[in-house]
């Protein structure tokens, strides 16, 4: 079982786990089927969009910033109602493919993620583009070590 330790403290940034939360690098790409269509139609395949995913145990479903999904022209495949503080809103559901370089997980297909408005940067300027939900954590072990500013992921 591979085990990955993430330390959220450096001399430059100090401790960031409490302020920013457990974030890990992520790259968002178009789904493989759409990529194949682009290849067949000789359309330039958009580059993967790098950013950071916040591990969010309060989220049942992974969510991605909608701008990140719309730039490479990924169309939604469904929509759902989402209860919000200001009432119910429609949220689009998208397919995509993600890579977590720090976890050695490449081209992981995600069939149904929520499109949302994230627009969030950490204190040291990292773009958070994904809320990594329990659907992606269901086969992993997650240890949150607040005192040591460390998070461990194993799967």
């Amino acid at each position: 079982m591979p085990i990955f330790d993430f330390l959220y403290r450096t001399e430059k940034t100090g401790e960031t786990l409490t302020g920013d939360g457990p974030i890990i690098p992520v790259e968002v790409s178009i789904p493989t089927a759409l990529q194949q269509l682009y290849l067949d139609q000789k359309i330039l395949i958009p580059s993967p969009r790098p950013g950071y995913a916040l591990i969010d145990t309060g989220a049942s479903t992974t969510a991605v910033d909608e701008d990140v999904l719309q730039q490479p022209n990924i169309s939604p495949i469904d929509q759902t109602d989402c209860s919000r503080a200001h009432g119910t809103a429609k949220i689009s559901i998208y397919p995509l493919k993600v890579t977590f370089p720090a976890l050695n997980l490449k081209d992981l297909p995600l069939a149904r993620v929520l499109g949302c408005n994230l627009k969030w940067q950490t204190a040291d300027g990292k773009d958070v583009i994904m809320l990594l939900g329990r659907d992606l954590l269901e086969d992993k072990v997650l240890i949150y070590h607040g005192k040591g500013c460390r998070v461990t992921l194993a799967f």
């Binding site: 049942s60 939604p76 627009k119 969030w120």
Partner: protein
Amino acid sequence: MVDFNIELQFFESNKGEIIKAHNGKFALVKGQKFYGAFDTPDNAYKEGIRLFGRDIFLVKRISAKEEAHRNQALSLGIINAHI
């Protein structure tokens, strides 16, 4: 936001029949036509891309219970707050 009204209305109108035959699978719907049920949403998407290319199509979970997404941050609308 993409308008799935036609597809969703069609799905709702025919839901009983579709559930009876394909409960637990994923439906591919375009306009007012059901293009089949698939074991995974990925397979439904692949078929949708094969049939419709970059056109809009619906991939819907076939279930009597509506798919539930519980995301506290989104529900509360609190992604970033200064306190």
